[in-house]
């Protein structure tokens, strides 16, 4: 049994987490769930959305899975997600995006991975008023962080047997910062002569994805570009309700669904657990439990193909319980 910190979050979080744990167990995942709180339940219990006790548990057990967590706006709390990435140095965000059966979208055969640098860029939150009416925000890029994320992407491409890495930038407008990012890309790519790579400005990537996303495989970029491109890519395959996500550092790893906590449907038992479940599959893969991970992924595809028991957002008339039942039944096939 591998201990994994399980943070249900709030809104629909506890429901989709419950469903996820059931499917993971049925798939043969050997996990000892260590429950911890973040978001609204943490505020109620500890007076803050991301208490130290939760962070300490993640530090102790190294691996966590997290449902959606709400950061109250305007109460002086920093974003839970930004803090987790920062405090745990989860420098790489990984978003695999692959076309799923039965989901009606205009794009087919999408199979790409967005790798996003998580610690720098405009997300450092360094902003100030120069004088009233004039704001400066700093976009920070360091060579170390650039090399680290690029190496992560190339290493991942090799491990997964992917064919190509595209380095995304805006070096014509930002010759110093993105110029340095590109130089780092050349140095890192030099260590991987067997992996094809190119670089493209962010606007051309946006155009290329809209025209034909099958041109892209692994894409690596800084924080803001990655934020925008990972959601754009999620849109190509059906949105945040079906794509998994992971935030990975050299010490810790956090797996999470990137959708919101959907307070409007919370507690009604109708939420779709697929995004979180697929994140759990990534987690199982990460800790070496490859077989249950693969079984979950194929069960998700089979469940969508069979269209039985699907939740409403997936075009069905079922609920969390019915889709969970299907997901478990389809593990055996």
């Amino acid at each position: 049994m591998t201990p994994v910190v399980m943070i249900p979050g709030d809104g629909i979080g506890p429901e989709v987490m419950n469903a996820t744990c059931k499917v993971v167990e049925a798939a043969g995942g050997r996990i000892d769930w260590i429950e911890a709180q973040a978001g609204i339940p943490a505020i109620e219990k500890y007076g803050e959305p991301l208490p130290d006790v939760t962070l300490d548990l993640v530090r102790k057990y190294r691996v966590a899975i997290k449902g959606p967590c709400t950061t109250p706006v305007g109460k002086g709390f920093r974003s839970i997600n930004v803090r987790l990435r920062k405090d745990l140095e989860l420098y790489a965000s990984v978003r695999p995006v692959k076309t799923l059966p039965s989901i009606k979208v205009p794009y087919t055969d999408v199979d790409l991975i967005v790798v996003r640098e998580n610690t720098e860029g405009l997300y450092a939150g360094i902003e100030h008023y120069v004088i009233p009416g004039i704001v400066e925000s700093l976009r920070l890029v360091t060579r170390n962080a650039a090399e680290r994320i690029l190496r992560y992407a190339f290493e991942m491409a090799r491990n997964l047997g992917r064919r190509k890495v595209t380095v995304v930038h805006k070096a014509d407008v930002l010759p110093l910062s993105d110029g340095m990012f590109l130089e780092a890309a050349h140095r890192v790519a030099d260590d991987y002569p067997f992996i094809e790579w190119d670089d493209q400005p962010i606007d051309r990537v946006a155009l290329g994805l809209a025209l034909d996303p099958t041109r892209y495989d692994v894409m690596v970029m800084e924080n803001l570009f990655g934020d925008v491109m990972s959601d754009l890519c999620a849109g190509l395959v059906g949105g945040l309700g079906v794509v998994p996500g992971a935030n990975i550092g050299s010490k810790y790893a956090m797996f999470e669904a990137v959708h919101g906590s959907a307070p409007d449907i919370a507690g009604k038992g109708v939420a779709n657990p697929i995004a979180l479940l697929r994140s759990a599959a990534m987690m199982l893969d990460h800790i070496g439990q490859r077989d249950p991970a693969a079984r979950i992924e194929s069960s998700v595809r089979r469940t969508l193909e069979r269209k039985t028991g699907l939740t409403r957002d997936l075009g069905g008339d079922g609920n969390t319980a019915s889709i969970t039942k299907e997901l478990i039944a389809n593990l055996q096939a």
Partner: protein, 333 residues
């Protein structure tokens, strides 16, 4: 009375596009007197200033210009004269109409929206410096004055185009001060336009919605970087960059801008697709008050595209620039 219009000849493919569009406009009986200036890298290569005083004065006097893409400097390919021209003329807003063209293959149909992009600020001020070796900071600059002017322009454009809804695209959840200021400016201008529905959307969600359901949008207004990304993303939704154009606005100045890829040395003489210059030219003719002529060109263009017998190289045909222009002329009523 023929209206004087500055023709900014960027060289390269522009050398083929300009004669084609002049011929088309003449055949449609457009009353225009061209004041042609060679500009950008092509002018520099001919031993002339890239952006001459005469050119700038001509644009300021005439108020209207039709422009093909300016080539980079032959000294340094990173010098982008298109951006310099915007700065020299104080152009502050770029409008990108996105509408499906008949007969042009695309992922989405019935797209009809306008993207309005701020042109003077954001990371495009290109203020960057190296703090210590390996650490670069770039400044994102946002001012209340530019934001207010920009949104006032965007709302007025929305109203005059008979459109009903405008979204401000932002990232204020992360850039609380900078994009917070942008949002404040948007909200305060919105009060003066009660007839227009003012909405807000985070840039990552906007990109996801664009590739899922672009028909939900009417006008999208945003800062420079988001505008760069979303405009090209939008072009991809309706079949590519050659199906789009831009109108760049300054005080009393409108530049009708043609986008075209491909280098003339690569695609060959007289091989360029003339669509990129026809689209802004139609808008120019309309802005000159010659609506009948604009409609004639538009319907002739649609007829040729609908018939589909003749197509340029880049959209699956073999027609030369001249053949396309001649076909459009013969299709005129």
């Amino acid at each position: 009375m023929a209206k004087r219009v500055t023709l900014i000849q960027g060289g390269g493919v522009g050398l083929d596009l300009v004669p084609a569009i002049q011929k088309i406009l003449k055949a449609a009986d457009v009353q225009v007197e061209w004041d042609e200036h060679l500009a950008g890298g092509a002018a520099e290569a001919a031993g002339k200033p890239a952006l001459s005083k005469e050119l700038l004065a001509s644009v300021r006097t005439n108020g209207f210009a039709l422009k093909t893409k300016l080539l980079p400097s032959p000294r340094d390919e990173h010098i982008n004269y298109n951006i310099r021209l915007r700065k020299d003329l104080g152009l502050f807003a770029s409008v990108r109409p996105l509408k499906n063209l008949p007969g042009l293959k695309s992922r989405f149909q019935n797209v009809d929206l306008m993207i309005v992009r701020e042109l003077t600020e954001d990371l495009y001020a290109s203020i960057e410096h190296v703090i210590v070796d390996g650490v670069v900071q770039s400044l994102k600059v946002v001012t209340e004055a530019a934001s207010t002017r920009f949104f006032r322009f965007a709302f007025e454009l929305t109203r005059s185009a008979g459109r009903k809804m405008i979204h401000c695209v932002h990232k204020a959840n992360i850039l609380k001060l900078a994009d917070g200021l942008v949002l404040e400016a948007f909200r305060s201008v919105a009060k003066d336009f009660p007839d227009i529905q003012a909405k807000e959307i985070i840039v990552d969600n906007c990109c996801m919605q664009m590739v899922s359901k672009p028909t939900q949008f009417d006008v999208l207004a945003m800062g420079n970087l988001y505008g760069d990304i979303v405009s090209d993303l939008g072009a991809g939704l309706i079949g590519g960059i050659s199906a789009t154009h831009a109108i760049n606005h300054g005080d009393g100045i409108r530049i009708f801008d043609a986008f075209h890829g491909g280098k003339r040395e690569v695609i060959g003489e007289n091989r360029a697709n003339p669509l990129p210059v026809i689209l802004p030219a139609i808008d120019l003719v309309e802005a000159l008050g010659q609506k009948e002529q604009a409609a004639r060109i538009q319907s002739a263009l649609e007829k040729v595209l609908n018939e589909g017998k003749l197509r340029p190289d880049d959209i699956g045909g073999h027609a030369s620039t001249t053949e396309m222009a001649d076909a459009i002329i013969s299709a005129m009523d």
